[in-house]
């Protein structure tokens, strides 16, 4: 094998050129990591969704509510373990700009249906014990400086209080849903009964009924099988329903974000191709400049594989340092990135789903750029190499 200092010094033979190429690699891989993190964030709600849950909605539209009486009927079906009401509340805190998601739910059932949601403050008991109690995601709690025991006013846009006042909620718990793909850390959950009673009493307006039912399956039952049974049960009305595996249900929202994954993918591909060509160019130039060295090494008795690795290692080093710096940089800005984009891209992280493809890609770029000059170096005869003008 050729000595490492020969590899290293040849790589640094043209410092500016190598610096610029490594810099481009850094920028490109930083961007690729961030873009990939965005896509992963959008994807994970779909991919990691529970295979044990179905979402039952109106067959007409997500914006049409189902009768509350359906819950009991759904639970008679074999394979349904339990279900939970979920109604979109659509409110904001003090000002319309402070919009975040709130759901009216079955407070006594959530703990079992979303069992991987963890309370970092407060307790399920406290949440269940009072009508006005709510759970708040840790990001939203952090954003508004809320903690357990606080009473927070929320203006209901879909369910306005008829006297014009705000709804009042008592925070009984702050949750962390990082283990639960279908729930972000931004949402508020409160007692459906609280909403229902206010409407019954004529204190609040809005549409009757339930937005969707989240259905937990018993062990050994499939989403498709139980979903078909539920859909069949209501086939003849009064209102038809559509049962969707939770992952597919989440995917609707991803596609509602428009073509983000497509755009991000296209930009990423463009960045990748540009950096591929830039690195290839650098390595081809390096390879040409080292033709004479290769000739000398071979005349001295170094074999083709030594010449091959002389060039390929330079490409691996160049990409390792350049791309590595970009990847580290992306890891470094993970925190600020979450602060900046976290509300649109829940769970935004430079995770192994981002790092693994980035590292593979860096190796691929190194091989792509290094293979041509390395193979040429391996093939080159001493006579050809030394005849070439340096």
């Amino acid at each position: 094998m050729v000595p490492f200092k020969l590899i290293w010094r040849n790589l640094l033979r043209h410092k500016l050129r190598v610096l610029l190429t490594a810099g481009s690699l850094t920028v490109a891989f930083f961007l690729l990591c961030v873009l990939q993190a965005l896509v992963v964030s959008l994807d994970q709600g779909v991919k990691n969704a529970s295979k044990k849950r179905l979402v039952v909605q109106s067959a007409v539209s997500l914006f049409v509510n189902l009768p509350a009486s359906y819950q009991g009927k759904i639970e008679t079906i074999e394979g349904v373990e339990e279900s939970m009401k979920m109604t979109w509340f659509g409110g904001y805190y003090r000002e319309p700009a402070n919009m975040f998601a709130q759901f009216a739910i079955d407070a006594d059932r959530m703990e079992r249906i979303y069992s991987s949601v963890e309370l970092v403050e407060g307790s399920w008991e406290e949440f269940k014990s009072s009508r006005m109690s709510c759970l708040v995601g840790k990001e939203t709690a952090k954003k508004y400086g809320w903690s357990v025991g606080d009473r927070v006013p929320i203006v209901g846009m879909i369910y306005p209080r008829l006297d014009g006042s705000e709804w009042q909620f008592d925070i009984a718990g702050i949750y962390d849903a990082s283990q639960e793909a279908s729930i972000d850390d931004l949402t508020m959950y409160f007692h459906w009964e609280y909403l229902d009673e206010a409407m019954e009493a004529g204190a609040a307006g809005g549409a009757d009924g339930i937005g969707v039912y989240s259905v937990l399956l018993s062990d050994g039952y499939s989403q498709a099988g139980v979903g078909a049974l539920i859909d069949g049960l209501f086939e003849n009305g009064p209102q038809r329903v559509q049962s969707t595996p939770e992952g597919e249900f989440n995917a609707q929202f991803v596609s509602m974000v428009g073509n983000v994954p497509f755009f991000v993918g296209t930009i990423g591909m463009g960045v990748l191709i540009a950096i591929l060509l830039a690195t290839l160019n650098t390595m081809l130039m390096s390879g040409r400049e080292q033709t004479r060295d290769v000739g000398v090494l071979k005349a001295l008795g170094f074999d083709g594989s030594a010449a091959f690795w002389l060039l390929l290692t330079q490409s691996l080093l160049l990409c390792g340092v350049g791309a590595g710096t970009g990847i580290l940089l992306a890891l470094g800005v993970e925190g600020p990135l979450q602060a900046l984009l976290g509300s649109n891209f829940p769970g935004l992280r430079i995770s192994s789903d981002v790092l693994a493809p980035a590292v593979l890609l860096a190796v691929a770029v190194a091989l792509f750029a290094g293979l041509a000059p390395a193979l040429r170096a391996r093939r080159l005869t001493v006579i050809e190499a030394l005849r070439e003008e340096a």
Binding site: L6, R9, R292, D293, V296, A299, D303, L386
Partner: protein, 250 residues
Amino acid sequence: MQESQHGVELRGVSRIYTRGGEGVKVFDDVDLSVNAGAFCALMGPSGSGKSTLLNLVGGLDRPDSGDVVVGDTFLSDLSESALAEWRSENVGFVFQGFNLVPVLTAFENVELPLLLTGLSKAERKEHAMHALELVDMGDRAKHRPGQLSGGQEQRVAIARAIASDPGVILADEPTGDLDFESACQVLDLMGRLHTELGKTILMVTHDPRAAERAERVIHLDKGRISESSEGTESADDGFREVKPREGEGA
């Protein structure tokens, strides 16, 4: 360092380059025999095949027919990688253009061929410094080629050629790019490699004064070999066709 055991023999060697469908015969059934420890100058007009001959002897090129034998090794028997290994042990090259590796220091250049031996780091250092001192470049060990004059570079190249103590030194116009004084130093060195170290030396040169240092001058022209055995005191006569002779060679 050991006296060379390496005679060089070409037996019925042909080398034909095909260029544009047309064959250019550089050598056609050529025989040549060089004793172990001999210092031969190779002369001849440009294109007469001097470099080709060195390349054949050094195992950088293969004949189209015939055998190249160095010591008791038939080079045609060796695979490409075996040939590379053989080269590292038996042949030192000195080129017209010096061909030092520019990013390595003089010392590191000389150490390069030693990396292919089983020597320890300390032994390599000892051998490389010894070779550098032999060419009087010991004090420039840490200089890069770009910081040396042409003559100094060529001396480092000679140190590199002898570092692993090969039996055969092949030099292709080693003084071609040098001024008079540097050329003299390099030729002195070549002479010492012959007299003091007993290397078998084949040296291509256009310079009759350089050829004078050799004990034997081989002339190449139009694919034929002829020679004058005592320097070049006469440019026109004293040549004779080389016939394969028994007894000469390894």
